[in-house]
Amino acid sequence: MSASGPRGIFPHKHLLGIEDLRPEEIVMLLDRAEEQVAVSRRVEKKRHVLSGRTQINLFFEASTRTQSSFEIAGKRLGADVMNMAVATSSVKKGETLIDTATTLNAMRPDILVVRHHAAGAVHLLARKVSCSVVNAGDGAHEHPTQALLDALTIRRHKGAIRGLVVAICGDVAHSRVARSNIIALNALGARVRVVGPSTLMPKGIERMGVEVFTRMREGLKDADIVMMLRLQRERMNGSFVPSVREYFHHWGLDQEKLDYAKPDALVMHPGPMNRGVEIDPEVADGPQSLIAAQVEMGVAVRMAVLESLAEQLPND
């Protein structure tokens, strides 16, 4: 389906993960996001498809950029957006996630955007509330809108995704971005590699349809896209990798390693970046970097997702 083609109906009540989507549904969301890119570039950005609707951004884990992106997306579509940071308050009082869900449900939101530090938490919430739920990242499980925005970014810059070699590099074990991207990119016909030290590689990852590399130069060879992942600081200092210095030396992306990829290879990062840990500042800010473009696509993708889910909402 192309951007100008007939619109399909998105058949899901929630967006909990890429795993639940069929390839044509991913393409449909990307096509819809293309339209939203155009909307976002206009002077008059406001649309009214979510007028009268309430969107609650429920973030159990701090995330400035994802939360702002969802907030802008909702507001551009006319929704009343409310941000709730529950990282500390109710959890400290001993309230369970389901209690929180019950309370929120009573406020009758139409869409809940949820981030939680535990894998599966968003699924649990979705079973307990009556509105639509969007997964904005659950533990090390999925981050579907990130995968969609990455796919959109790649498609816009490369024209197509099928046949591209994408190397996802770094802390794959703890990365929801990696999981969602592996599923999305595989579904769209890319050849996906994962690259990183074995301590940061989850068991059985090869059965998700990826090639596994532990050395950057081999993993990046002839890659079209180099997708770097954020390394959490607590994973350094001997538990997973011996030191920042050693990690950067072997797995940090600098120009020398990037040169093993295709000459027109593009560099991505979900942010926020640790410059000098997983990526060299010159590469991060260099001509091959798509990192700023990803942020723009993030708003468009989230608008597309919210709009698609809104069509499923009851109208009475």
């Binding site: 795993e19 001993g94 369970t96 996630l97 389901i98 939680h116 535990a118 894998a119 599966g120 938490a121 699924h123 649990l124 659950d138 533990g139 090390a140 499980h141 999925e142 929801r176 999981r179 989850p202 068991k203 059985g204 990852i205 059965r207 998700m208």
Partner: protein
């Protein structure tokens, strides 16, 4: 034999005769159609010729054609909230659930609040059981003070108070020297050490079996080696000390091999498996169903098959429910943050009968693992229908099909991994010391 804490009014009970039942009594290698006669709280006769002595006067005669009579189940791993967490389960509610499941003896774990590491607390459990419980209750006491894995508990005094074995319950003893001292010291008392085999640092923050499924769910995994390393270590220490040892639950094919080798070497070693690990695998977790979050975690299908085979060939000695009641406050969380454990007293036998239905194991081998062997290993009454034995028995209809309704469970907590599961086989009646403590409908 340790005397039962249950004070039964055995002699007040009218005699009961079960006619034409299939009698499964592994203690005598008996699997035959015949009659079981119960009188005065004991088995008067059980076998094809049992009626030769005639029917006792005033006996209730039960026509049991097509039904099975077997020794009552001896569940060697039951967590109860009492003391400390009675809102999850008390001895009273657990014993009701046990009776409904055909469990006539339940063995409680010491990691309560407070931990059962003092003779007075053993006495508390026994007295509370005497007053409240419908079935026999025997406590295991803590192996180390506070179940903290550091200082050995008073094994001698606790044993005298009535503790039937020593364990730290859910916890493993990481310190090999502490385990060595415990096994050495316990040997002087003939005490059995029961251990949860999981190397805690290797298990780390894992919550499911390490592998592809864990990776897809984005959950931290526990490698099988967390179990095998601890088990292998323990076998070496048992060899060093000559102690009596029981691995509470094993869950992998490699663990089966380790136990088999230890037995071949003549070590005094046994092991158990939970019915959950016999019937479920990691895929049953589905979309983060926290009722299937267990310790050890549910493993892959080939490990499940391996433990089923090891049960059938006798390498695995006991099947336990690992009954672990958890309330909504501990289970209604995202998978990784919810507590481990599932209730199981009422589903122990029906779930295990799936293996019989699949042809993986016969009734005699199953009853041996659910009753006869645990009773023998723990030195308890029960596990036998031989004349003179205490009349702890169950009447089972193996042909009843039913669907588990979680709300209908008698346990105070409802965290069952078998919600809405279809079972074949149901306990119709449970007798403890000749007294009927549970009856399904009009059985």
């Amino acid at each position: 034999m340790i005397p039962t804490p249950l004070t039964r009014r055995a002699t007040d009970q009218p005699p009961v005769v079960f006619r034409n039942a299939r009698i499964v009594d592994p203690s005598r290698d008996l699997d035959a159609v015949g009659t079981v006669v119960v009188a005065g709280g004991r088995i008067l006769a059980a076998g094809p010729e049992a009626l030769n002595q005639g029917t006792p006067e005033g006996a209730e005669v039960v026509e049991a054609e097509g039904l099975v009579v077997a020794p009552g189940l001896v569940d060697a791993r039951v967590f109860i909230g009492e003391p400390g967490h009675e809102h999850r389960e008390s001895l009273a509610t657990a014993s009701r659930a046990a009776a409904a499941g055909g469990v006539t003896t339940l063995v409680t774990m010491p990691d309560t609040d407070p931990v059962i590491d003092d003779p007075a607390l053993v006495d508390f459990i026994l007295r509370r059981a005497r007053d409240d419980a419908r079935v026999r209750v025997h406590p295991m006491a803590a192996l180390t003070k506070g179940c903290l894995g550091q200082e050995m508990s008073e094994i001698g005094l606790l044993g005298e108070a009535g503790a039937i074995a020593f364990t730290d319950g859910r916890r493993s003893i990481a310190n090999a020297n502490v385990m060595r001292r415990c096994l050495t010291y316990a040997r002087d008392f003939g005490a059995l050490i029961v251990h949860h085999v999981e190397e805690p640092t290797l298990a780390g923050s894992g919550v499911v079996n390490a592998g592809e499924f864990a990776t897809r769910l984005g959950l931290p995994g526990i490698p099988r080696e967390a179990e095998t390393i601890m088990l292998e270590r323990d076998m070496r220490i048992v060899g060093l000390t000559g102690g009596r040892y029981h691995a509470a639950q094993i869950s992998t094919s490699d663990s089966v091999e380790i136990v088999r080798r230890a037995k071949d070497r003549g070590l005094d070693v046994t092991c158990g498996v939970s019915v959950n690990h016999l019937c479920l695998n990691e895929m049953d977790i589905g979309t983060y169903r926290s009722f299937l979050k267990l310790s050890p975690p549910l493993r892959a299908e080939d490990d499940r098959i391996a433990v089923v085979d090891a049960l059938a060939d006798g390498t695995i000695d006991f099947v336990v429910s690992s009954h672990d009641p958890q309330d909504v406050e501990t289970k209604r969380h995202p998978f990784a943050e919810s507590a481990d454990g599932a209730v199981g007293l009422e589903t122990l036998l029906p779930a295990a009968l799936r293996l019989v239905a699949d042809g993986r194991i016969g009734w005699p081998a199953l009853v041996a693992a659910l009753s006869t062997r645990p009773a023998r290993r723990l030195g308890l009454d029960g596990g036998s229908l031989k004349p003179g034995a205490t009349a702890d028995l169950i009447l089972v209809d193996p042909a009843v099909s039913w669907v588990l309704d979680r709300a209908a469970l008698l346990s105070r907590s409802k965290n069952t991994p078998f919600e809405d599961a279809r079972f074949e086989g149901r306990v119709l009646r449970t007798l403890v010391a000749g007294e009927t403590v549970h009856r399904y409908r009009d059985a």
